[in-house]
């Protein structure tokens, strides 16, 4: 009996590894038809958008859109998340800090479809004038034309919603790292006559840097794969090119949202094509996550040795 139990537990552990491998294998099997199809077949049966002549021409702009959305979200979320983490670990009175932790958990628990609904219905129309203004200001630069959509359903708004969604995870990981800053080093800085901010700059941030980096990577991984918020906020049929018009609508699209938008009405080779794009997304997010986790685990060994 003991052996059976041990065997079952080990099998469950191994099963996880098998499943992860199976995800890659099944996506590859189902996407294979699209990967190997000739350009002509893809164009006639693969439901490629106008302008795309082969699989690379289809996936390329989507990857570009995905990266733009995630990168913008990361740029917006990280400073705020680090700020909140510092607020909880070093600024807020203890009772307030506990409440903030709860509120951040609450933010993390809100389903993405609700974020999408809110982003499209509430945020987009209200933030559109701001984007319009930014676009006008940027257009003053000679040779630069920045368009902005009046609906607000642009990549900029999408990225803002994504930023709000990845805020909790970046905050949570950074907060843990900041809390672990050795008291010794903070006291050393204080005793030298450092202000609170100088203590943070001298002792807390250098200590937490790698932790914040991995927190941001985890956030990036989540933003890359997020579907519903993008699908609902961004008003786009499909991304067809490489463009930086983040305030405009109809130019950029992400892999995940593209799949969700087209999958229900697709059949045949079009499905295989979508699965091939899913495989690309899987590879990108796994790479980002593995890098983030690798940084975290290396960090754990380091702090364990201390």
């Amino acid at each position: 009996m003991s052996r059976v139990f041990r065997w079952a537990a080990t099998a469950a552990g191994v099963l996880l590894l098998v499943v992860l491998a199976a995800v890659a294998v099944f996506l590859l099997i189902r996407g294979w038809a699209a990967i190997t199809a000739s350009d002509a077949t893809l164009q006639s049966e693969g439901n490629l958008p106008p302008g795309a002549h082969n699989l690379a021409g289809y996936i390329g702009p989507l990857i570009f859109g995905t990266l733009i959305a995630a990168a913008l979200a990361l740029v917006m979320a990280t400073p705020v998340a680090v700020g909140i983490a510092l607020f909880v670990s070093h600024y807020a009175p203890r009772r307030v800090a506990g409440a903030v932790g709860f509120v951040i958990d609450l933010l993390a628990a809100i389903p993405s479809v609700v974020f999408g609904l809110w982003g499209a219905q509430i945020l987009a129309p209200r933030i559109a004038p701001l984007w319009q203004w930014v676009a006008d200001v940027l257009s003053v630069i000679p040779g630069v034309t920045v368009r902005a959509t009046a609906t607000g359903r642009s990549m900029a708004t999408t990225a803002l919603v994504l930023a709000i969604m990845i805020l909790p995870i970046i905050t949570a990981v950074s907060r843990e790292v900041f809390k672990q800053t050795p008291h010794l080093h903070q006291e050393a800085a204080l005793a030298l006559g450092a202000t609170r901010w100088e203590v943070i700059r001298m002792a807390v941030l250098p200590f937490g840097r790698s932790g914040v980096v991995s927190a941001a990577m985890l956030g990036l991984g989540r933003a890359l794969g997020e579907t519903m918020a993008v699908l609902m906020v961004l008003s786009t049929s499909s991304g067809t090119g490489y463009s930086f018009q983040i305030f405009d609508s109809g130019v950029l699209q992400t892999i995940a949202a593209n799949i969700a938008a087209k999958f229900p009405d697709s059949s045949g080779l079009a499905v295989n094509t979508l699965i091939a794009t899913g495989l690309a997304l899987f590879v990108i997010t796994m790479a980002v996550n593995m890098l983030a986790r690798w940084i975290v685990s290396r960090r754990n060994e380091f702090s364990g040795a201390n």
């Binding site: 009175p93 203890r94 050795p182 010794l184 080093h185 006291e187 050393a188 800085a189 204080l190 005793a191 030298l192 006559g193 450092a194 202000t195 100088e198 001298m202 002792a203 250098p206 200590f207």
Partner: protein, 259 residues
């Protein structure tokens, strides 16, 4: 450079808990004052109230005055950050900043106030401070190595160099040798004897031989029981405390340990 400190009627609290009660003492400039007493008697808490490090803990506060040459450190216009600059501190465990080199560690405090210190001035200051901390000869060839690459005793002297680099009036040392081996301890004690020529030094120690060796005056703190506040029993010349203390408690404590 060195200043006297007059403590008058000092009560130290953690929230509503009175940790140290009613301390009055004078600390002479250019001398070493040792604070001894059993664990939990409040001597470290008292030490931390001398550079306003005590109040960093949420809810912690003090009543009474700590005057440095007549200026109350707890006066209304006084900035705690400025106080800590004038009253340096060395901790029980060596705590050089792990991400900084040896030279950067020495300059850490100076850089706060003077960002544009010239390269040659900085190099001079590093050398002066490390010489002052008896560490120069050992590290002069590896100033850009991380501070954490040094041995424990060297790290502690690096921390002393870091503290004196900002030219404070007073140096507080909270059991500076308790985490070190005997040879490093000796090096620190020698250093303390040299430093008292230019600084007012207050040292907390649980090692009475150490107090006897390095200090000019010794204060004995005691606590009556758990939950009761710590008190200063007496303070006098070190020779007097260790030979003919006025209080019975002091004699018990000292003889008990020397036994």
């Amino acid at each position: 450079m060195a200043q006297r400190i007059d403590v008058k009627d000092l009560n130290i609290y953690y929230g509503s808990f009175l940790a140290v009660s009613d301390v009055s003492m004078s600390i002479e400039p250019r001398s070493v004052t040792a604070l001894i007493g059993p664990s939990g008697c409040g001597k470290s808490t008292f030490l931390r109230s001398l550079n306003r490090m005590h109040e960093v803990i949420p809810g912690a506060r003090v009543e009474g005055t700590v005057a440095m040459d007549g200026v109350d450190l707890y006066g209304p216009a006084v900035d705690p950050v400025a106080v800590r600059r004038q009253v340096g501190m060395v901790f029980q465990r060596p705590n050089p900043f792990p991400t900084m080199s040896i030279a950067e560690n020495v300059l850490a405090g100076v850089r706060l106030n003077n960002k544009k210190i010239s390269k040659s001035d900085a190099a001079d200051l590093v050398e002066r401070s490390l010489v002052g901390a008896n560490l120069w000869k050992e590290v002069k060839d590896r100033l850009d190595r991380p501070g954490s690459s040094l041995s424990g005793g060297q790290q502690q002297r690096l921390c002393i160099a870091r503290a004196i680099a900002v030219t404070p009036q007073v140096l507080l040392m909270d059991e500076p040798a308790s985490a070190l081996d005997p040879i490093s301890t000796l090096a620190i004690e020698d250093l303390i004897s040299e430093l008292k020529a230019s600084y007012t030094i207050v040292i907390v120690t649980h090692n009475m031989q150490q107090a006897a060796r390095v200090s000019d005056r010794t204060g004995f703190f005691n606590i009556e029981g758990a939950g009761k506040p710590g008190r200063l029993v007496e303070i006098d010349d070190t020779a007097t405390i260790f030979s003919t203390p006025r209080q019975q408690q002091t004699e018990d404590y000292i003889s008990g340990r020397f036994g």
